[in-house]
């Protein structure tokens, strides 16, 4: 079921049906947006304001109060900066931390700050950094990465531009995780309706339910943006968003949630389709605590009974990638594990027979009512029927999912997309909703976090990665593609969608 009220196929069918009406009623209208000049012509206009269409409106403007991925897309790296930044290729680079010293035991970090100022004019000082880190891991914070950063034991101000952080245990991902933590002015107060960051853009207008407008910040310490500002224009309905791009109301869309609408934008002289890689994994998560899914053979059997290639083709029209574990190719500990559990119905049947389910069994998939999941569930149902396993599909709301599946662990299997990067760590937590409990994986991932070098860390996570695939801890179905579309006169759009980061300062629009 599509998310919109009316299927896209209907919306697409309309043009032909009423083409006659169009000819009769309003002949003479000329397509204006479609002829906006070839991409090569025209130098970039540094004053052009880029209008960005998105379905991902921030629920809140403050990342520690449920701002979620929408506010990451709009603000992280644009309005706010961290001590580090994560590039579109998932590399960690210094940002507000000009230099970093780490003690030999990996417990003490000393950051020397970049000379920078907040949009209010205050300089960025060590006090602000301390305030920001403390705020992020405070009791009232519900930030998504709070748990990883709770390794911080204390933050102390050395002098105005030097700050020292002491960790409770070594954390090799520490600087990476800091890439998501905004440094905010310690005098800013409530950040839900206003901002005070140090990024290349300032917030000039916030219209909830409609748009967020950002202007370039004159006092920015780094390179000035290549554009004259950006406007994030939000759409609740994907068809309305496509229409906005078709009529020139927006210059680009940050993410296409289904491939159905892509043919409308296939004319390369008018539009550029940018396909990047995401960290969004769709998976069939078993409740590994309960029978029959506490049996590795049963999980492997189910996984092998699913033709994932066919699924990906039917959902994403050949785009996206197959994955054999929780780790996508953009992460350092990626291994190609797709063949660990190959598509092989005969193998599935013999595994089921070995496990004592020669006659199959039946189970329920709790399926969130959002996006494509009900289509995926129907597909799984028909695939598993071929090996004698009966699937009941139970459609539930996101709310029910959090209550029943996530909190109470009252489920057999469920479908869920996991959008975060580096989230293999969920398999080290036996209390997580899927309840995968493997002592080795827990040890390896804990050791990896306190490893002395990136190589050591990578090796350890790879071991864990291989183990969860061997155990079919979950059935990882596919990695969603990240599809952005812009008009042809727009360049410099970030390609990948790693955890929703979307740096806009390099986006350019040709002068018309």
């Amino acid at each position: 079921m599509p998310r919109s009220l009316f299927p896209r196929s209907l919306a697409l069918a309309v043009p032909s049906v009423i083409a006659i009406a169009a000819l009769a009623g309003c002949a003479g209208g000329s397509p204006s947006g479609a002829s906006s000049g070839s991409p090569a012509s025209g130098a970039a206009d540094p004053d052009a304001v880029i209008t960005i269409g998105s379905e991902n409106e921030p629920t809140s403007l403050d990342q520690i109060f449920g701002g979620s991925s929408g506010v990451t897309e709009a603000f992280t790296g644009n309005v706010y900066e961290g001590l580090f930044r994560i590039t579109d290729d998932a590399e960690v680079e210094p940002l507000l931390a000009a230099s970093t010293e780490v003690s030999d035991d990996g417990l003490d970090y000393t950051f020397t700050l970049q000379e920078a100022e907040f949009h209010s004019g205050d300089p960025v000082t060590a006090e602000d950094v301390k305030y920001s880190l403390d705020r992020f891991i405070s009791e009232e914070s519900i930030a998504a990465r709070k748990r990883q950063l709770s390794v911080i034991e204390s933050v102390s101000v050395v002098d105005d531009d030097t700050v020292a952080v002491h960790l409770a245990s070594p954390s090799i991902s520490f600087t990476y995780n800091l890439g998501y933590v905004w440094i905010v002015n310690d005098t800013a107060g409530d950040l839900t309706a206003a901002e005070d960051g140090s990024g290349p853009y300032t917030l000039v207008d916030y219209r909830k339910g409609d748009s967020i407008s950002l202007d370039p910040f004159d006092g920015y310490w780094g390179d000035a943006p290549a554009n004259g500002g950006v406007v994030y224009q939000y759409y609740a309905d994907p068809t309305a968003l496509d229409n906005a791009l078709l009529t020139g109301a927006v210059d680009l869309v940050t993410g296409q949630s289904t491939p159905d609408a892509l043919p409308q934008f296939s004319d390369e002289s008018s539009y550029t389709i940018i396909e990047g890689t995401s960290t969004t994994k769709n998976l069939l998560a078993f409740n590994d605590r309960v029978a029959p899914f506490d049996d590795v053979s049963v999980r492997k059997a189910i996984y092998s009974a699913i033709d994932r290639e066919k699924l990906l083709d039917s959902i994403w029209d050949g785009r996206g990638e197959l994955i054999g574990s929780m780790v996508p190719p953009s992460e350092p500990w990626y291994i190609d594990l797709v063949d660990e559990n190959p598509y092989d119905p005969a193998l599935a049947e013999s595994l089921l027979a070995d496990a004592g389910y020669a006659d199959g069994f039946s189970f329920t998939i709790d399926t969130p009512d959002s996006g494509v999941q009900s289509t995926v569930a129907e597909f799984l149902k028909s695939e598993l029927a071929k090996v004698g396993v009966t699937v009941d599909i139970r459609i539930i709301t996101d709310d029910e999912w959090y209550q029943k599946v996530y909190t109470e662990h009252d489920f057999e299997a469920t479908l869920q997309t996991h959008v975060n990067d580096r989230d293999i760590n969920f398999y080290a937590n036996p209390d997580f909703y899927w309840g995968y409990d493997d002592a080795d994986v827990q040890t390896w991932l804990a050791d990896a976090e306190s490893a002395g070098s990136a190589e050591e860390q990578t090796e350890l996570v790879k071991q864990a990665n291989r183990r969860i695939a061997e155990d079919a801890a979950s059935a990882w179905l596919y990695l969603e593609p990240q599809i952005r579309i812009s008009t042809a006169d727009v360049t410099g759009v970030p390609r990948n969608g790693l955890n929703s980061l979307f740096s806009v300062s390099g986006i350019e629009k040709a002068a018309s």
Binding site: F65, G66, G209, V231, Y235, T247, H418, N420
Partner: protein
């Protein structure tokens, strides 16, 4: 009148209570704020921040106290003032509703009357058939068709959206309302036309018209003097209902045209379990609908002396003493 006012207040109180309870039974707002990976402590912290960890009666008293201070609270997600948001979004929804209503009345009254007056001609029949048809189409379908024709193909009007400057440039704002207004007017106008037609048929067959004409008045004069005043009474209550449905239609159609009005606020509020926003929008809408019904009642009484002394619009025979 006193009883009618009491009824109005009672209905509002009932609406407030039902809304409050239903929302809290159906959902948990905390889950819209957290993401996968949140711990039990995170969930508890979010509940405490929103105040939903307190017993329901305490929350309810708190809420009623807030309402008595004319405060609709703050959004659970964005933390913005709900009253401010409702007011800001009225910039879109109010003109959208009123313009659609006016346009649908302008279409419906002449069309409905003509269909009744010329009921036996082919175009009178065509009128009723057309209004039946237009009234049966789902409103968003009309919206999609209009967008495809006038925005995507002819490109003479925007496909959706509203100027970020609101009404600073009235022409720009009006332009963005043309398609949504026409969409709603087509659907609700055809519904209204059917009422007008049957009311007109009623009046045209009345003996007082014949009597008036017998006294030497022309058809037009008789209709204006006696027909209109008699015919308008049932139409007024229909108009009030119609204005309310136009408002509901506006709320639905905003999604199709990406208009940042009350409908969008309601939809997103429901999706995010943002109780204060949902309550704010629904309370405002309920109050508006109840008030319109009330005003229609009062107006009918002024126009028709026979109705005075009855509780509602329906005529009651007084038992002989």
């Amino acid at each position: 009148m006193l009883r009618r006012t009491g009824l109005l207040i009672l209905s509002l109180l009932l609406a407030i209570t039902v809304l409050f309870v239903v929302l809290r039974v159906l959902g948990n707002p905390v889950f819209a704020l957290i993401s996968v990976g949140a711990t039990e402590e995170d969930i508890a912290a979010a509940a405490a921040r929103l105040g939903v960890d307190r017993p329901l009666p305490v929350q309810f008293l708190d809420y009623v106290g807030q309402l008595l201070r004319l405060d609709l609270g703050r959004s659970f997600t964005s933390n913005l003032s709900v009253a401010d948001e409702v007011l800001r979004r009225l910039n879109v929804t109010l003109p959208l509703t009123l313009l659609s209503f006016v346009l649908s009345v302008l279409i419906a009254i002449p069309a409905g009357f003509l269909a009744a007056w010329k009921a036996r001609t082919w175009y009178g029949t065509a009128f009723s058939a057309l209004s039946q048809l237009a009234g049966a189409i789902p409103v968003f379908w009309v919206g999609i068709i209009l967008v495809t024709v006038f925005a995507l193909q002819a490109r003479i009007l925007p496909a959706g959206g509203f100027p970020r400057t609101d009404w600073a440039d009235p022409l720009l704002a009006l332009r963005s309302l043309v398609l949504p207004v026409v969409t709603i007017a087509i659907v609700s106008g055809s519904e209204l036309a059917r009422y007008v037609r049957s009311a007109s048929l009623d009046v045209l067959g009345q003996t007082y018209l014949r009597t008036a004409r017998a006294t030497g008045q022309g058809f037009g004069a008789a209709l204006l003097r006696h027909g209109l005043r008699n015919g308008i009474v049932p139409v007024i209550s229909v108009l009030a209902i119609q204005l309310s449905t136009t408002f509901v239609g506006a709320v639905i159609i905003e999604n199709v045209f990406a208009l940042p009005g009350l409908g969008d606020m309601l939809l997103v509020g429901i999706r995010e379990q943002d109780f204060p926003s949902v309550q704010g929008v629904l309370l405002f809408s309920t109050a508006l609908v109840l008030l319109l019904g009330f005003l229609a009642d009062v107006l009918q009484r002024i126009l028709d002396p026979r109705l005075r002394g009855t509780l509602s619009g329906n005529r009651r025979q007084r038992a002989p003493a």
